[in-house]
Structure formats: C-alpha cells, structure tokens
C-alpha cells in the first residue's frame, strides 16, 4: 500500500516536471523568450504602458514576434515596437476613445505610412457608427504604393463622405492596384477609379484635410 502510494507520488512528480519542462520549451507558452533579456524587458515595458493607456498591446507583441521570425536584431525589433506603440497612441488621440482595437491598429498603420493624424480625425468625425478599419487599411496601402499621401487621404475622405462601404474601398483598391501594375501613375489611377464609385449617401459638409491640393483631385 505504502509502496503504491510512493510510486504514485513519484509518477506525479515526474509528470509535473515534464509538464513544466514542456511549458518552458513551448514557444507558445512564452513567445518572447527568444528575445535577448534587455530587448525583452523593454518590449514588456512598452506592452505594460499600452495596457495602462488602454491601448491594444497585442500589436506590440505581434511586432516583436514578427521581428523574431524575420531574424531582425534586438535593436531593430525594439525600434519597430516603439514605433507601433507611438502610432497606436497617436491613433487613439486622432480617432477618439470609441475607436476599436482593429481601427486603432489600422490607423496606426496609416500613420506609419505617412498619413497625418488630422486626416484620420476628419474620417473619425464623420464615421456615423461605421467601422473605419477598411478605409484606413486601403489608405495605408495606397500611400505605400506611391499615391501622394494628400491625394490618397483626400480621395478616401471624399468616398467616405459619399457613403462608400467596405466593398467599395476594397474594389477601389483592387482596381487601383491593377492599374498601377499596368503602368498607370498611382495618383491618376486612384482619382480615375474613385470617380467610378457612385455616391450612396448625403455629403457631409466637412472641409478637406489641410494640405490637399485641389488640382490633384481634378487631374
């Protein structure tokens, strides 16, 4: 009886040890373990700061993991994570407290692509409960593909005001991408394709973002 009990305890101890060991080895259990200690500490500090500021901290961890997967060094990873943190903070300030985590993530991408916070604020001011995620994703991509940021922001804003839906923005993006690949000037491609999207709602009387050149919209 006693030996059986001892045997059971020993088995339990072995199982617990193995379980702990597996937890330590499993990357999912501690995904940041592959960072060097100082980088990891800094990243975790930023994640804590994001939590305190009620910002989504998932994008920060995700950026660190992305850097690890792409074999970036610790310094570059930290720079990238800091950049995401700042962009999320600025996105919250631009979109307001009602912005969702997805909208903040998309807005952070747009800010990192070069879109001004004031232009995001204009979009947020006329949202009327509609999700901003898709237009922000498309906006960031257009700038990445070479559309001047003022032209991109102004055009997306106009479509947004005219009631364009997510599918409209996605369709616009596909058409513009195709045109750019075919050799069309990115700015011209965007303006031409934007004209093809019919208005779906009343225009809101909000002035365009500062710095938008009317000639861009007309050309």
């Amino acid at each position: 009886m006693r030996s059986s009990l001892l045997r059971a305890i020993a088995l339990l101890a072995i199982a617990t040890t193995v379980s702990f060991a597996q937890d330590t080895l499993d990357p999912a259990a501690d995904p940041l373990r592959r960072l060097d200690p100082s980088t990891r500490y800094a990243v975790e500090m930023l994640m804590d700061s994001a939590r305190l500021a009620r910002l989504p901290y998932g994008p920060l961890e995700s950026k660190a993991l992305e850097g690890i997967a792409k074999r970036a060094n610790g310094r570059d990873i930290l720079v990238a994570v800091r950049r995401v943190f700042r962009a999320l903070r600025d996105a919250r300030a631009a979109l307001g407290p009602s912005a969702t985590a997805d909208e903040l993530t998309a807005a952070a991408g747009a800010l990192r692509a070069g879109i001004a916070a004031s232009e995001l604020s204009l979009l947020a001011a006329t949202r009327n409960g509609k999700p901003l995620t898709m237009p922000l994703v498309v906006l960031a991509d257009l700038v990445t593909r070479g559309v001047p940021r003022d032209t991109a922001a102004f055009t997306i804003f106009q479509l947004w005001q005219r009631g364009a839906a997510d599918d409209d923005f996605l369709g616009l993006w596909r058409s513009v991408e195709r045109d750019i690949v075919s050799g069309t000037n990115p700015s011209v491609a965007l303006l031409n394709r934007a004209r093809e999207i019919p208005a779906k709602g009343p225009s809101t009387a909000v002035p365009p973002a500062a710095g938008v050149r009317p000639e861009d919209a007309k050309s």
Binding site: E66, G67, K70, D76, T144, D166, W173
Partner: protein, 426 residues
Amino acid sequence: MTRQKLPAAAVAVSLALLATGEHAIAQGASELEMRLGAGAVRTPGVSPLLPASRMAVTPGLRYANARFSFETQGSAWLNGQEWSVGDATVATNTNSHTWHGVRGELLANASRIIASPVDVSNQLDAAGRLHFIRERGGVWVGSGIVRPLRIATVANASVNSGGVWTKLGATTLRATVTNVQFTKFASSDTASGSGAVTACPTSRSAAGATTPDIGPGTSLTLPTNAPSCRRESRLTDVEGGVRWEHQWLELSVRGGERFGERVDVTPSSRTWGSAQGAIWLSSQLAAVAAGGREPAQPTRGLPARRFASLGIMLAYWPIPRGTVLVVSPVNQIHAFELRPAGVALQRLTARIGPVERVEVMGDFTDWAPVPLVRHGRDNWELLIPMSPGIHQINLRIDGGKWFAPPGVPTIKDDFSGEVGVLVIRG
C-alpha cells in the same frame, strides 16, 4: 533539283506538347516528373509498321528548369506473347532570357519506332520559336525542319507554325496552326496532287508489294533512291486545346483538323481529338487516364490511331542548389484566395508553381511559419484559425524571403519588407 520536303504532322503534335506557351511563364524552378502508363492502342486499317491492336506500357521522364527542359519517353508493346520495344523519344528545349516579354526558344527532338527488327524508323527534328509573352497569355511563331531516317515514304520536311494561348483563371486555352511542306516518294496512284511531280513509272510494280494506307497515301516499299518519283505537297493542321486545373484534378482536351490534298489527308486523319485527365492522389502521385484519336504522322509513316490508356505519374519538384529564379515569388503565385471555412476558420488556397514548399505566417500564427499542404501539381491549401478583425500575413516560397501575398493590401513591416493586411469580417 527537287527539294525534299516531307509531311510532318507529327512535328506539329510533338512540338506543341514540348513547348506550349503555358510552360513559358511557369518555369521558375526545376521539376522532375516520372510517368508510367499502360493502355490499349488500336490502329484502324492495315499498317506495315504497327499491329492493328496492341497493349502498350509507356514510361516517361521529364526534367525542366528555368532555362532548359529534357524529356524522354518510350513504349513497349505486347505483340502476341512477347514484349518488344516500341518507340523511344528524346526531346530538349532551351529558352533565352525574357526581354520586354519577348523570348526565344530552341527545340530538338529525336525519336525511333521499332515495329520489328526490319521495320525501324528514326526521325530528327529541330525548330526555333519566338514567344511574345504577356501576363495572361502570349503568341508565338516558329519554324523548323524534320529529317526522317530509314523511312521510305518521305525525305524531309519544313514546318512553320504559330500559336496563341491565354489563361482564364484555372483554364488555359491554346490554338496552333502548323503548316508542313514536304516531299514524298509518290506512287503512281498518289501522284495526282497539284504539287510538282516527276515521272513515277513502275516503282510500285517493281517492288511487287501492296501499298497499305499509312496516312499520306504512300507506299513503304518504294525505293528511296528514286528521285524521279518525288512529289512536293503540304498539310495544314489547325488544333485547339483547353486545359483546366482545380486542386487535385487536371483535365485537358484537344482537337484539330487537317487541311490538304485528298491524297495526303486520309479520312481517318481529317479530324482528331483526345482527352486526358489526371487525379492527384497525393502531392507526388497521380492517376492519369487518356483516350481519343490521333492523326497520322506522315513523316514517320504512322497511320491514324485510336488509343485509351491508364497510368500513374510520379512527380518530384526539387529546388537544386544554385538555381536562380527568373521570376519574383509573387509572380509565381497564379491565384491566392482566403474564404471563410467555418466559425473563426479561414481556408487559404493558392496556385503556386512549380515550387517545393509554401509557408504562411502572421499574427494569427504568432508569426510561426506554417506549411501549406499541396494538392495536385501546384495547388496549395491550409485551414487557418483566424478571428474576425484585422490581421497581418506573410508568405514564403521554398525558404526564401517573406513577402506579402498578392491581392491583399500591404504595409511596410519595419524590417525592410512588407506584410499583407487582411480584414476578416465577423
């Protein structure tokens, strides 16, 4: 002096198979295919070279990389109780660099048919082609020569051909026109065409043999050293084909019509058609079934035939060291799609080929690479748990650089690359 040009419909077929346009943009890496087929071949009418009906086993091997391809195929026929080597073919082609969508191609082909120890026919042919390639299609023109050896019916032939192809999603459409000018040894009853004919007095009777119909309507028993009996003629083959691929299934259908003088085009070779289907049982094993009707191959003295075959194909697509891809990874992706496949589950499908390994990673995998599963030749698939919302995604081909998949918006990734951005709706 009489130019020796021979009918060569076989060239039209073999060249088209060797270098269809669809291969032109797909050769980014190397691939090795091994085939083993078995089936029945029936030849209508009497042929001096081939038995009317026979069983055939056809092994084949094909290697291709970005610049060069090599293919060899053979067949063994069951004649009565004995197996005998039926035919063997070796074909190569090489491509130039593509410059502004224009590419040159050289093809060479050598083949031998052994019907019996005394009935052996050899053939050499070579051709050059110029391709004009665009994103979803292309046009080519080509010219070449055919040199039959040990064939008593024809001397040689010149071939001019052109083709057009286009890709519509998973479907490839192809059309070719092949004009063959040839000189054949005419018998007295085939010397009635409009081509230049010299006197052909008594060669048939001198040979003292019958003249079986082998397509161009010539006799194998005519002496090859009878220049006075040669006749110039021409054939034009128009052929169309459709190839369709979907995941583990590949289907191809082709058909054609031959134009030419009645003495050169027998009724059995006027039209033809065939179909082939391949079902991929695993990523490297496929069952292949084919059947249909093939036209006569005048340069080889082969008649039209009906065939049905069933076989297996083993395929291997290695990436040899030192291979330099001629296209960027994104250009190797012919389709990329993400569809809902249940609650918080997405089905990622892509057509990428020819490659050995495709991986995906993103925030939904905690940026851990996950390999896609291959179905068929170049279809890849993966079920991914992905919650509604915004996600970032990267693809990698054969361990190369991570890149954003085509067809989705992108942003810079802060690590000198780009990521694709997905917005999954709830």
